[in-house]
Structure formats: structure tokens, C-alpha cells
Amino acid sequence: MADEPIIRGIDAHKTYNSGPVTVHALRGVNLEIPRGEMVAIMGPSGCGKTTLLNCFSGLDDLTSGDVQIEGVSLSGMDDDAKSRYRSRRMGFVFQSYNLLPVLTAAENVELPLLVAKVPAKDARRKALVLMEQVELDGWAGHKPAQLSAGQQQRVAIARALVNDPAIVWADEPTGNLDSETSAQIMDLLVRLNREQRQTLVLVTHDAIVSSRAHRILRMRNGQIVEETRSA
């Protein structure tokens, strides 16, 4: 594992105005994640885990502070630049899979490549390789509705990894899965992290899931209050 931080959060603040109430979702988060590390972020509901993931991945903007990815400040990028950066260097896995229901499994997997203007044939070839890696070869032509929950999450993982991202953000990747499927998905993520040396930031409630990470960060009231390293 390299020591150079690929993600650096500097005094990151995020507030939401919900009517007359101002919600401080992040309160001065400072965080460094080295390249290739697998980090689990835990904490009670509403503590700011998903907000941290959204803001640090550029899906949402910070109210103040800064996030640097591979040494580049996200606040210096406009919306289009952030979108292009995401399509080249990041992958996402969500709790509810968020596959596009109108596309087949292979089409969902190849989507980030097509968005990044990779030729269609190359994109499809790469997508099929990834589907094989997540043990879904033979399911390429199926629509999400024809797949089980575990299979859908595997498709989502393949989609997250298809563009060889530097960072994979996973928000409760096993939240909708039974324990057995959950373990299989975590095995897959751990294996891919180990083989492909991608940085993996995963938000979870599940202690079993977090136990597979190199480092566990615990959040409360928008702050990181505890950091634990795996043995």
C-alpha cells in the first residue's frame, strides 16, 4: 500500500438549510486516505457519512474547506470538469444498486466507458471481462429486473470498476443484501481491491463489513471521532 494520500479533506464543512433549520452535516472534517487503502466509514444514521462520500467524490459541493483528489482541488473544478473526472477516475456503488432499468447488465457496466467516449466495441469487451470477474458471465443480456439483488449489486460493482478507477466510493454496498450475499460481495470487493490496488471508501453500518477494511473511521455529528486500524 502506498503512503501518498489520494484523497485529502481539509477542514471540510457542509451545511444544509432545511427551512428555518440549518443542518451541519460536516463540521470541519480533516481526512487523508492513501492510494490503495480500503477505508470504512461508520456511524449512526444522520452523522454525515453519505454527505462525506458525496462531497469528497464531487457529487456535492462543500460549504467551506477543500477536498483534493490526486493533488487536484475539487473546488477549482467546474461541474463539467468534475463529471469528466468522475467518468475517468472514480467508480460508485450504491445501496440500491441504481442500475439503469432500461439497459441490460452489460450496457450498464459499459456505461462509464461510453460516457468517457471509449469506442463501443472496446467498451463492450471490457464490460464482459468485468462481468466475468464478478461471476456474471452469461447474464450480459439480462435487464436489472431479471437479476437477483446480489446479481444487481455485482453488476453495480462491475460498473464501478470498468473504467479502472483510482477510487471506488461505496455507499452501504451490502445494505440491501442478505448476510450470505453480503459476504460474497465483500469478498469480491476485497479481492478486487487487493488485485487492482484501487482505493476503496465504503460507508457502512455493518461491523462485519467494516472489519474487512484496512481502516475504520467513526463519525458522529459531522465529525470523525475515532479511527481504528485493522490488525
Binding site: L59, M90, N98, V102, L111, L114
Partner: protein, 415 residues
């Protein structure tokens, strides 16, 4: 560029732009196409919503044109070959003037080489008439006294069995009745009529129906119920010797195309009337009637277009509402699309492509529905309408005098 051409141009431009977009962004096109197939019922509702407005607009254009056509037909039927009229009209009454005025005006038109092929004197009176035998009367029968030697350009009077008649063939007390007058008076050939001329010192004129003529050409003048007399007999019977009260003018060309010369002929007629200090009024009857018919058609078109615009507006509101619903429904998908690198404008483009598909299909189906319903409407309203033949152009007035009766009968409407 007229509205239909503009609409066609807009549709073509829309299709070309959509085509270019499809070629340039196949991924967005695929997403849009798949999303269209996703909710068939919703697609049908959107297309139906937009279709109504398009159908109303396309049919309004046809309805306007059809109304114009109907009113134009009416003008051609009412006036026949008559393009301009010269009279001494006041308050709807035709006052008599000297028949010699016709000679003066005719000579001026010949000198000016005016594009006129006929000018005819008329004594036109409206009065109550009673059918003695049938014991049926009508208060508003028009009596037209015609000089057959001037009627060549206006076409002959034609019997139901196709025989051409001229008023100079009438006996001293005979009249021809057009079909409308015959129906109003329940008159048949050989029956005696009593004409009640005047109000205070009423003159009774006795006449016999010699024949019944079709309601066409001169016999359809202003769609009146008419009894035709020889001009001299009419002048004598109504105490108007040497007088007429209407001059009918026919331009070179047929019933339809003669009006092209109306401006020139009207100007020549007005110059003639002014140069002789005649208290007569020149009216470009057919040109005015046509302008009015076109105006009515245009007003109808505009009315229906406004209604169509409301339909389109409702369709737009419907599509906006449905797209708001779609955006809400697809929020997670839009989120993941943004996460994998789609730009905001990519998502807008995908929605725009979807909307363009709805618009093009609705426009095509709407135009089809509109034209189909309009075709039905046209067939219904024009089935009773007579098509107007366009006679061959006739020659101009000659200084040799009026043409012999019926000399151009084959070129006149309804001949």
C-alpha cells in the same frame, strides 16, 4: 412564408436536428429510445395530448380554405359572368337613368381598349307577383328586362332540357321564370301571372310563363327569384321608356379569371362616368365579393388557429407535467448517470430527444387526423356546391355593336 410551409419547415428542421443528435450521441439516443418504450400508456397520453392541438390547427387551415371556397362559389354563382355593375343606387333602391348612358360608357370602354367582353342594359324591378291559376304569390319577385342583343357575353337562359332561350323570342306578354321563381309561385309554363308594380298608384301587369329556365348564369343573379322580360316590354310595362337602372359588365375571360381585370375596368368605367358627369356608381361587384369571401375564410382560419393554440398550450402543460413526473421518477437514475460522468446537458439532451420523438409523432398523427376530419368536412359541405367552370377567354367589345344573342353560349357557365 405561409403558416403550413413554416410548420413543415420547422418539422423538417426538427427531424434533421434530432437525426444529427442521434448520430452524434448514440448513447443518449439509446437511453431516450429505451425510456420511450418503458411506459407505453404514458407515451400514448402525451402523444394524444399534443395530437389534439395539432389536429385542430391542421383542420383549421382546411376549414378556412373550405369556407373561402364556399363563399367564393357563392360569389361566382350569384354574379355569373358579371364582374362590375353600374347603377344609380341609393339606400338599396335602384333609380333609373337614361339608356343612352350605356351607349356612352360602351363607346368609352372601346376607345380605352378596356378588357371587357360584354356590357348589358338591365331594368330590374322587385315587386309582388301572384300566380293566378295556382293562387300563390310572392312579395319579392325580381323582374329583369334584358336586351338579348347585349346578352351574348353573359350566356343564354337555359331550359331544364338544355335549350337556349333569349328574351327577344318572347311574345308580347310572355316571361321566362327561373326555377326559384317558378317554385316560389308554383308556376308552370302557360300559367298567367299578375305583377303588382308600384305602391300608391299600383300598375297591374299581366304576363304568361313561356318557359322555366335553370338557376344558372344570368338566371342565378344574386340568387333571386326572377322573371325575365324583353327590355322594351319591361320599359313599356313599368312606364320607364328609354330608361334602365342597372348596367352589367363582363370582363374578358371567364367567370373566375375575368376578375383579374377588375381594377382596370372599374377605373375605365369611373373615368367614363365622371367624364360625362353621370350620377352613377361603379361597383367592382365580383372583386369585392371575392375579397369578402377570402376575409371570411381568413377570419375562420384565425378563429380555429386560436382554438388550436389553446389545444397546443394544454398539450404543452401536459407534457411539462409528465416530464416533471418522469424526472421525479427517474431521480435515482439521473443521480447515477451524473455519478458515472454524464453532464447536466447530456441528461437534458436525452430528455429533449424523448420530447422530440413525442412531438414528431404527435405532429404527424395530428396532421393526419386533422386532414382526415377536414376531408370529411370538405366532402360534406362541397357536395351541395356546384363547381364553377372557367369558360374560354372571349373577345373584347367591338365598335360594330352588340353581339348577336347566344353567340358565346357554349363558353358560359353552366352551358
Amino acid at each position: 412564408m405561409a403558416l403550413p410551409e413554416m410548420a413543415l419547415f420547422a418539422v423538417v428542421v426538427g427531424i434533421v436536428l434530432a437525426g444529427l443528435l442521434l448520430a452524434a450521441r448514440p448513447l443518449l439516443a439509446r437511453l431516450a429510445a429505451r425510456n420511450i418504450r418503458r411506459r407505453t400508456t404514458r407515451v400514448v397520453i402525451v402523444i394524444l395530448g399534443l395530437l389534439v392541438g395539432t389536429a385542430v390547427i391542421s383542420s383549421s387551415l382546411v376549414v378556412g380554405d373550405t369556407l373561402s371556397f364556399i363563399f367564393l362559389e357563392d360569389v361566382y354563382v350569384r354574379l355569373g359572368a358579371v364582374d362590375e355593375i353600374v347603377s344609380n343606387e341609393f339606400g338599396g333602391q335602384l333609380f333609373s337613368f337614361a339608356e343612352t348612358n350605356l351607349t356612352q360608357i360602351r363607346a368609352d370602354l372601346i376607345t380605352a381598349k378596356s378588357p371587357v367582353d360584354g356590357i348589358a342594359p338591365t331594368l330590374l324591378k322587385v315587386m309582388p307577383v301572384r300566380n293566378v291559376a295556382g293562387n300563390k304569390g310572392n312579395q319579392q319577385i325580381t323582374i329583369m328586362g334584358l336586351n338579348a342583343s347585349y346578352e351574348g357575353a353573359f350566356g343564354p337562359l337555359t331550359t331544364r332540357d338544355g335549350r337556349s332561350l333569349d328574351t327577344d323570342a318572347l311574345g308580347p306578354d310572355d316571361v321566362f321564370a327561373n326555377a326559384r321563381a317558378a317554385a316560389d309561385l308554383n308556376a308552370t309554363p302557360g300559367q298567367n301571372l299578375t305583377l303588382f308594380y308600384g305602391t300608391t298608384n299600383q300598375t297591374l301587369v299581366h304576363a304568361t310563363v313561356a318557359d322555366i329556365v335553370r338557376d344558372e348564369g344570368t338566371a342565378s343573379y344574386e340568387r333571386r327569384a326572377i322573371l325575365f322580360m324583353d327590355l322594351r316590354r319591361a320599359q313599356s310595362a313599368f312606364g320607364e321608356n328609354g330608361s334602365i337602372n342597372l348596367i352589367r359588365v363582363s370582363n374578358v375571360g371567364g367567370v373566375v379569371d375575368g376578375v383579374a381585370f377588375s381594377d382596370q375596368v372599374t377605373q375605365d368605367l369611373r373615368l367614363s362616368v365622371a367624364s360625362h358627369h353621370l350620377a352613377l356608381r361603379v361597383q367592382d361587384a365580383k372583386a369585392s365579393g371575392i375579397a369578402q369571401a377570402v376575409q371570411i375564410g381568413r377570419a375562420a382560419t384565425e378563429l380555429f388557429l386560436v382554438m388550436g393554440a389553446f389545444g397546443i398550450l394544454a398539450g404543452i402543460l401536459l407534457i411539462v407535467n409528465i416530464f416533471v413526473m418522469l424526472a421525479e421518477e427517474r431521480k435515482p437514475e439521473l443521480g447515477i448517470a451524473r455519478a458515472v460522468g454524464f453532464l447536466r446537458r447530456d441528461l437534458l439532451t436525452a430528455f429533449a430527444l424523448e420530447g422530440t420523438f413525442y412531438a414528431i409523432v404527435a405532429a404527424a398523427l395530428g396532421a393526419l387526423a386533422g386532414s382526415t376530419s377536414s376531408t370529411g368536412w370538405c366532402r360534406t359541405v362541397t357536395s351541395s356546391s356546384r363547381s364553377t367552370s372557367i369558360p374560354r377567354p372571349s373577345s373584347r367589345l367591338s365598335s360594330r355593336g352588340p353581339r348577336s344573342p347566344g353567340s358565346q353560349s357554349s363558353s358560359r357557365p353552366g352551358a
